[in-house]
């Protein structure tokens, strides 16, 4: 029984605020050992979902269970570690002091040296937290999430505001922790990060889960192939009526067609002589994401 209890189990969870229903009936089950990315735009409901499953907030309807227990109990039992958004470590403590303290609140923490090594902090162990760079601080926050050796860690936009190198180091550390058989759930709005670091991507939009699968699943779901070519002054009105085409986007002189039957589309284009700089490529994850989610009007630039 215990071995089959999922690490995370949200069932039709709803959390509504006066102005917006941030989480609108989310069903999410994460098995032990999975690494899952919660992908969505800003304001899609990622943070609220994570708050619900950490017990920081209560759902208005539905249930939330971690390892079969209410979130508060799972947290109390030391089965969960978290890196929250916008948190900064408190000043006037060293990295080692802070990681040691948080680790010792858990029943079975990992040795401090190991937590520091995993987070890439060994050389900064005795430095004061308030004298670290942004990337180092982020690693401290990660070390705090794993110090207690919990079975599940929840990371809310862990790489926001990190440079490329720091980001790379961070994901390496995260995968190291996941490889030990732990469950990791992280939220992000970076597609590449989700694709590169998670076994499974859950796309959330307007508080609902709109897709759930591997990166490849999502790409397939987005509808096949992208055909693009230079318009070279041609009118573009006729493109939507081409065989196979489901969507048309014009960017400057370049037309991009999403097609369910690229062969038919290309033949039809050739028939009209519209083949300048023709390119046929599989839909990217970004295309998939854009197809799955609807932008908020205010967010459209």
């Amino acid at each position: 029984m215990t071995t089959t209890t999922p690490a995370v189990d949200l069932s039709t969870a709803v959390r509504a605020f006066p102005s917006v229903t941030a989480v609108d009936g989310v069903d999410l089950r994460i098995e032990r050992g999975e690494t899952v990315a919660l992908l969505g735009r800003n304001g899609a409901g990622k943070s609220t979902t994570l708050s619900l499953l950490l017990g920081l907030d209560e759902p208005d309807a539905g249930t939330v269970r971690l390892f079969g227990e209410r979130p508060e109990l799972a947290v109390r039992a030391g089965r969960v570690g978290a890196m929250l958004q916008d948190g900064r470590p408190i000043p006037r403590v060293t990295v080692r002091e802070l990681v040691t303290f948080v680790g010792r609140t858990y029943p079975r923490p990992m040795p401090v040296a190991e937590a520091l090594a995993l987070a890439g902090l060994s050389e900064f162990a005795d430095r004061r937290v308030d004298r670290l760079s942004g990337g180092q601080v982020q690693r401290v926050r990660f070390a705090l999430a794993l110090a207690g050796n919990p079975g599940l860690i929840v990371l809310d936009e862990p790489t926001a505001a990190l440079d490329v190198e720091a980001r790379h180091a961070f994901w390496k550390a995260m995968r190291g922790y996941a490889r030990r058989g732990n469950t990791v759930l992280f939220s992000t709005h970076y597609l590449e990060e989700a694709d590169a670091n998670a076994d499974r991507i859950v796309v959330i939009d307007h508080g609902r889960i709109v897709a759930d699968g591997t990166g490849d699943d999502l790409k397939r779901r987005a509808g096949g192939t992208l055909v693009s070519f230079d318009l070279a002054g041609q009118d573009s009105g006729w493109l939507t009526s081409l065989p196979g085409v489901t969507a048309v986007e014009i960017r400057g002189e370049r037309a991009s067609l999403r097609s369910e039957d690229s062969d038919a589309t290309v033949v039809a284009l050739a028939g009209r002589g519209a083949v300048r700089a023709l390119r046929v490529q599989p839909a990217s994850l970004e295309d998939a994401f854009l197809a799955l989610t609807t932008p908020d009007l205010e967010l459209v630039r």
Binding site: V75, L84, V93, V112, L144
Partner: protein, 254 residues
């Protein structure tokens, strides 16, 4: 080594938290300069400039108690300012996703506040004994430290009430006003005997006056008066309720 580290230590969590917070407070230069140095400096200035004659000895003793109380008051309120800062850092939220219970977090903070009042008390009393030559029986010194330490609890709660309710900046300002206001009207800086009659009556019922009065009676070799103790207990209850209500309010948003 590993075996030692993986052993569950549920009961040390509160102590660990207390140790962490006390360490952080003592590393705060502002706290050391203004919280400990300032009361000592003010005590030495007030008692050694101008004051001479027969009353000088008594003034050195009562000012010592007043300034020790003032130092303790500042340190106790300072805990609340630190809590507001913790909230702003998202630290209280981070603690909520550790196995620490909210009760442990609040208790740890109240205890750390209680511990950090001790350096100020000790510094002023030491200055009194070593520099100003204040002489009392050994039991009086012990009782003085103990009563000033315990009596500072209502102010820790007042500070926490502000810290859990207000923003960092506002908490800093409000606690500063509370500190100065309560100290002056409570007669910690200048004896309330110098106040006009009506103000003196008011002063008798203020928390800081009752607090310092625990020490003044001890210095005179007497037990604190029933009114003093009652008034202080009243403030303890009031500030305790305020802290509890602020905490409950913040728990929803932290």
């Amino acid at each position: 080594m590993t075996a030692d580290l993986v052993k569950p230590r549920p009961h040390s969590a509160l102590l660990d938290y207390l140790r962490l917070e006390v360490r952080r407070t003592l590393r705060d230069t502002g706290f050391v300069v203004f919280g400990i140095g300032m009361p000592v400096l003010m005590y030495l200035l007030f008692t050694n400039l101008g004051a001479s004659g027969e009353d000088a000895g008594a003034w050195k003793t009562s000012a010592m108690v007043g300034m020790a109380a003032y130092g303790a008051l500042g340190a106790a309120l300072g805990t609340g300012t630190a809590v507001a800062d913790d909230r702003a850092h998202g630290w209280l939220r981070q603690l909520r996703v550790t196995p620490l219970t909210p009760r442990q977090v609040v208790t740890g903070r109240a205890l750390s506040g209680s511990v950090t009042v001790l350096p100020a008390i000790a510094a002023v009393l030491t200055a009194g004994a070593l520099i100003n030559g204040v002489r009392m029986d050994a039991w009086q010194w012990v009782a003085l430290v103990l009563l000033l330490w315990l009596g500072a609890l209502p102010f820790t709660l007042l500070g926490l009430g502000n810290g859990y309710r207000l923003s960092t900046q506002t908490t800093g300002v409000v606690n500063m006003i509370c500190n100065m206001g309560l100290a002056v009207i409570g007669g910690l800086w200048f004896p309330s005997e110098l106040f006009p009659g009506w103000l003196r009556t008011v002063s008798d019922y203020t928390p800081a006056h009752s607090f310092a009065d625990l020490g003044w009676s001890t210095a005179e070799g007497a037990a604190p008066g029933a009114t003093t103790v009652l008034v202080l207990c009243g403030w303890l209850l009031l500030f305790g309720a305020y802290a509890a209500s602020s905490y409950r309010r913040s728990a929803r948003t932290v």
